[in-house]
C-alpha cells in the first residue's frame, strides 16, 4: 500500500488524478469492506477503490504489476470458459510473480492433488458458453453506464510544491 485509503480519498478530492490512478493501493485492496462500514463520513471507500481501478484500466494509467495482470487474466478466462479453473489460474499467477514463486508452489499443488482438490488437466467450463457470450456482447454495444453516476475524480488539481 503506497497510499492509505484516507490519502487516496484526500487526493481524489484535491484532484490529483494521476497520483490516484497510478497508486497501487486500490489494487492491494482486498475489498473486505471494513472501511466502508466503519467510515465516520459514510464514504463508500471500497466502491471508490473499484472505480479507481476501472478508470486506471480504461485509461491504461495503472502501474503494471502482478495484480492488474491477474485480474485481466481472470476476465480472459471467464470470457473464454464462463468459469474459472483454479489450477490454471494458479499457475499463471505464480508464473507472473516469478519463477521462484512458481516452483515454491509445486509441493502445495501436489498435496492438493493428492487430496482431490486440484485437477491439473481439467478445465472448468460452461456447457452453453454461447449464451453468456451473447449477453456480454450485448453489454458491449452502446454506451457504458458509468457507476456511480458521478465519478469521484475531478479532472485537475494543484500539484505539490515540492516533490521529495
Amino acid at each position: 500500500m503506497d497510499k492509505t485509503p484516507r490519502r487516496i480519498i484526500g487526493l481524489i478530492r484535491a484532484g490529483f488524478k494521476d497520483e490516484v490512478l497510478s497508486s497501487i493501493s486500490p489494487w492491494i485492496c482486498t475489498s473486505c469492506y471494513s472501511c466502508t462500514v466503519e467510515c465516520p463520513a459514510k464514504i463508500k471507500i471500497t466502491d471508490i477503490m473499484f472505480v479507481v481501478k476501472r478508470m486506471a484500466m480504461q485509461e491504461k494509467s495503472y502501474r503494471r504489476f502482478v495484480i492488474p495482470d491477474i485480474e485481466e487474466e481472470f476476465v480472459r478466462m471467464v470470457r473464454k470458459n464462463g468459469r474459472l479453473t483454479e489450477s490454471k489460474m494458479g499457475i499463471k499467477v505464480a508464473r507472473k510473480s516469478g519463477i521462484g514463486n512458481l516452483l515454491s508452489m509445486v509441493p502445495l499443488a501436489w498435496k492438493l492433488m493428492r487430496h482431490d482438490r486440484l485437477k491439473l488437466f481439467h478445465t472448468e467450463r460452461m456447457v452453453n458458453i454461447d449464451e453468456l457470450r451473447t449477453v456480454l456482447e450485448a453489454m458491449e454495444t452502446g454506451p457504458r453506464v458509468t457507476l456511480p453516476a458521478k465519478p469521484p475524480v475531478v479532472p485537475t488539481g494543484h500539484h505539490q510544491e515540492v516533490t521529495a
Binding site: T4, R6, R7, E38, C39, P40, A41, K42
Partner: protein, 658 residues
C-alpha cells in the same frame, strides 16, 4: 369600525438581499397596490428596523390605514414587533397580518420567477384575510411567583442560587439522592485545574441552607399542566426509607448495617467502587442524608433482617414503611437543566469496552483520578499496578455518521486534562489519539501547548481498533492501539496498559419524555431546541420554559454556568413583570346557533366548555380556553368560532392562495 371604509397598507421587506435576492420585490409591491382596499404598498430594506416601522406608523396616521400587512420573515420572529408598531400608531394590533415570504418563499425556492409568483399569491391571501380581521383585546394573566428548576447539576444549582438571591422562591428538583451532577464526579476542571469539589461544594451548601430554595432531592417531576405564568407541577419524592427531617448525617447506620462489607456497585462511582444497601452517595452529598436501596436491603427485599441500622440511629430516622410521596407546586416559569449522559462505548465494539481489561470511559477515569474515588486518585490497573502507558482515544461516538454526527465540544479539553492528571499521578507515558484538536475557549489552546511541553504524546488519527492479540513480544499482555498516524503517514501499533475512551455527550435517556411533558422540541440529535440560536438561546417555543446547560447541547462548565445565569434572568424578568399577555385566540359560542349537543364539551382537553342546562347551550370559559380550535372544527351547527382564526378568515386566506 362598521361603515368605515377598509384601508390597507402593505409593506414588503427586502430583508437586505435575503428576500430581494430571490423575489422581485418591486413587482410584488406593484401587484399589491392593485389589490382591493389597498391604499399603500411599499418596499423597504429592513421593515423591522426603526425607520421601517416608522413608515408604517406614519402611514397609519396620514393615510388613515385601518389594516396593515407586512410581508417579510416568519411571524414567529417579528409578529409581535409589528403588532407593537401598529398599536403605538393607534391601531388595534389584531388588525395586522404578517405574510412569510422569507422562510416560506425566498429561502426555500430555487426558481426566482416562481418565488416572485408565490410571494404575490401569499400577499394577496394576506390582504384578503386582514380585510376581515377584527380588533381584539389581549388577555393578561397574573404570573405565579415561584420558579421550578429541573436538574441539580451545576446549571440547576447556579440558576437556583441566582434566582433565590434575587428574592424569588425556587423549587429545585433533582432525581439523584444528591445534587452536584456530573461536576461533582470530576477531580479537576480544565484549563485552570481548579479542584472541582472546592468550587462546587460551597455552592451546594449555600443552596442547602438558602431560605428561598426548596430542594427536592431523589425526586422527579411526573406531571406538568398549565401555561406561562401558571404551571401546576407534580413532584414525586422517591422513598429514601430514611426520614430526611430527622437524619443528621452521622452515618452511624451505615457502619451498623448487617452487611459488614460494601458489596453493591456505587452509582456515583459508576460501579467502580462498592457501597452498602444503606449509604450516602459521596461524602460531600447535599443533602447529607443517607438512603436505602430497596433492591439491596435485606429487610426491604425479604422482610427479614435484624435492622441493626435502625438500632444504631439515635434519631429514629429510619422508616422502612416510607412510600413515594407527591407534592403539588404552582410556579410561574420553569428552567430545564437536566444535563447529559455519556455515549455508551459498547456501541463501538472495536474499542473493546466491557470486553478488554483496563478500558475505561472518560467519566470513569474522572473517578479513578478523584481522591474520593475507588483508587483514591492514583489510577491503577486491574492487577493493582500502576499503568506505564495510557492511551486516550478521542471522539468516541462523536463526529461519526454511524453514531453521533456532532462534535461533543468538551472531549478534547477533558482529554487533555485527563492526560495531564494521568501523567502527574502515575508518571505514565500518555498518548492522545485525536482527529482534530478543538481548543476554542479562553486559555484552552494555551493548555494544549502546556501539555505538548509536558511531553504528552499526540497522534493524529482515528483509532481503528484496540486489540489484545500481540504480533511481537513487546505487545504481549498489552492493549494495542492500531491507528493511522496521519502526520507520520504510517499505520502504527502502539501498546499501552490502559485506555481511556473520550466518550461524547448525549441527551438523557428520558429527554423525550420530558420534552413531551413540557411541549419542548428536540433536534435530530435529541437535545432540546432553543427558540432562536442567536437571539433567544435559553428560551423555548413554549413561553415560560427556559433551558440551560448540556440538555440543550454539549457544553463545558463555563458555558453552562453562563447559560444558567441567562435562563435565571429570563425567568426572573417574567416573574417580576407579574403579568403575562396571552394571545386572545379563544373560542366563542354563538348561543343562538348552539343546539346543545355537547360534542364540544367532551372534546376540550382543558375542560373550558360548560353546558348551561337551563338555556341548553354550551359556553366557552374564556380564561380556561387555550385556543387550539378543536371544538370549532367539531361543532356540527357551526356555532363555535375562534377569535383571530375565524372560519371566514381562514377561508379567505385559502381563497387567496389558490
Amino acid at each position: 369600525m362598521t361603515g368605515e371604509k377598509t384601508r390597507i397598507g402593505v409593506y414588503i421587506c427586502d430583508c437586505g438581499l435575503n428576500i430581494l435576492g430571490v423575489v422581485d420585490v418591486p413587482s410584488v409591491v406593484q401587484y399589491a397596490a392593485t389589490l382591493d382596499n389597498v391604499v399603500a404598498a411599499k418596499e423597504y430594506k429592513y421593515m423591522c428596523s426603526d425607520p421601517g416601522q416608522d413608515i408604517i406608523k406614519k402611514d397609519i396616521k396620514e393615510l388613515k390605514l385601518n389594516r396593515v400587512v407586512v410581508a417579510s420573515c416568519t411571524p414567529t420572529l417579528h409578529e409581535r414587533t409589528f403588532r407593537t408598531t401598529v398599536s403605538t400608531a393607534g391601531l388595534n394590533p389584531f388588525l395586522f397580518h404578517m405574510v412569510n415570504i422569507r422562510e416560506a418563499v425566498s429561502w426555500v425556492t430555487a426558481d426566482k420567477k416562481r418565488a416572485t409568483e408565490k410571494a404575490k399569491t401569499l400577499v394577496k391571501a394576506g390582504v384578503m384575510r386582514v380585510t376581515l380581521q377584527e380588533p381584539l383585546e389581549p388577555k393578561t394573566e397574573p404570573v405565579a411567583p415561584g420558579i421550578l428548576v429541573i436538574g441539580g447539576g451545576i446549571a440547576g444549582i447556579h440558576a437556583s442560587l441566582a434566582l433565590a438571591n434575587a428574592g424569588t422562591k425556587v423549587h429545585l428538583v433533582e432525581r439523584e439522592p444528591s445534587i452536584g451532577g456530573n461536576m461533582a464526579r470530576f477531580d479537576k476542571t480544565f484549563p485552570t485545574l481548579d479542584c472541582s469539589a472546592c468550587i462546587l461544594t460551597p455552592k451546594m451548601t449555600t443552596l442547602r441552607v438558602h431560605p428561598n430554595i426548596s430542594l427536592y432531592s431523589y425526586s422527579e417531576v411526573v406531571g406538568i399542566e398549565g401555561y406561562v405564568g401558571n404551571f401546576d407541577v407534580i413532584v414525586e419524592r422517591k422513598p429514601r426509607y430514611v426520614n430526611e427531617d430527622l437524619c443528621i448525617g452521622c452515618l452511624k447506620c451505615i457502619e451498623a448495617c448487617v452487611y459488614k462489607d460494601a458489596r453493591f456497585p456505587n452509582e456515583f462511582d459508576l460501579g467502580l467502587a462498592k457501597r452498602k444497601p444503606i449509604y450516602i452517595p459521596f461524602p460531600q452529598a447535599v443533602p447529607t442524608k443517607v438512603l436505602i436501596d430497596p433492591d439491596d436491603c435485606l429487610y426491604l427485599k425479604l422482610g427479614k433482617c435484624k435492622q441493626t441500622c435502625a438500632d444504631a440511629c439515635e434519631k429514629d430516622a429510619i422508616d422502612f414503611k416510607q412510600k413515594p410521596e407527591r407534592v403539588n407546586l404552582k410556579v410561574g416559569s420553569i428552567i430545564v437543566a437536566t444535563g447529559f449522559k455519556t455515549f455508551d462505548p459498547k456501541r463501538k465494539p472495536q474499542y473493546g469496552y466491557g470486553v478488554l481489561p483496563n478500558v475505561y470511559t472518560a467519566l470513569e477515569a474522572e473517578r479513578l483520578l478523584s481522591p474520593t474515588g475507588p483508587t483514591e486518585g492514583i489510577p491503577r490497573l486491574q492487577d493493582g499496578t500502576m499503568p506505564k502507558t495510557v492511551g486516550i482515544i478521542h471522539c468516541i461516538g462523536s463526529r461519526d455518521e454511524n453514531t453521533n454526527v456532532y462534535c461533543s465540544k468538551v472531549c478534547c479539553m477533558y482529554s487533555l486534562k485527563l492526560a495531564h492528571l494521568m501523567k502527574e499521578r502515575t508518571g505514565a507515558e500518555v498518548y492522545n489519539f485525536y482527529i482534530d484538536m478543538r481548543t476554542t475557549g479562553k486559555g484552552y489552546e494555551e493548555f494544549y501547548k502546556k501539555l505538548l511541553e509536558e511531553g504528552v504524546r499526540f497522534v493524529r488519527g482515528r483509532v481503528a481498533e484496540l486489540t489484545t492479540a500481540p504480533l511481537s513480544k513487546g505487545e504481549k499482555g498489552k492493549l494495542i492501539v492500531r491507528v493511522e498516524d496521519t502526520l507520520a503517514g504510517y499505520v502504527r501499533r502502539i501498546p499501552v496498559d490502559m485506555v481511556i475512551l473520550s466518550v461524547g455527550l448525549e441527551p438523557q435517556n428520558d429527554a423525550q419524555e420530558l420534552r413531551r411533558m413540557l411541549n419542548l422540541s428536540c433536534g435530530k440529535d435529541g437535545f432540546f431546541i432553543e427558540l432562536h440560536p442567536k437571539l433567544a438561546p435559553v428560551s423555548t417555543a413554549t413561553d415560560g420554559i427556559y433551558i440551560a446547560g448540556a440538555c440543550q447541547g454539549p457544553k463545558d462548565i463555563p458555558d453552562t454556568v453562563a447559560q444558567a445565569g441567562a435562563a435565571a434572568s429570563e425567568a426572573l424578568a417574567l416573574v417580576h413583570r407579574g403579568v403575562v399577555e396571552i394571545d386572545p385566540y379563544v373560542a366563542v359560542t354563538d348561543e343562538d346557533l348552539c343546539s346543545g349537543c355537547q360534542i364540544c364539551v367532551g372534546l376540550c382537553p382543558y375542560f373550558a366548555i360548560e353546558y348551561d342546562a337551563e338555556k341548553k347551550v354550551s359556553r366557552v370559559k374564556d380564561v380556561m380556553c387555550k385556543g387550539c380550535g378543536v371544538c370549532v372544527a367539531a361543532c356540527p351547527s357551526g356555532a363555535i368560532d375562534q377569535k383571530h382564526f375565524r372560519d371566514a378568515f381562514v377561508l379567505a386566506e385559502v381563497a387567496g392562495v389558490i
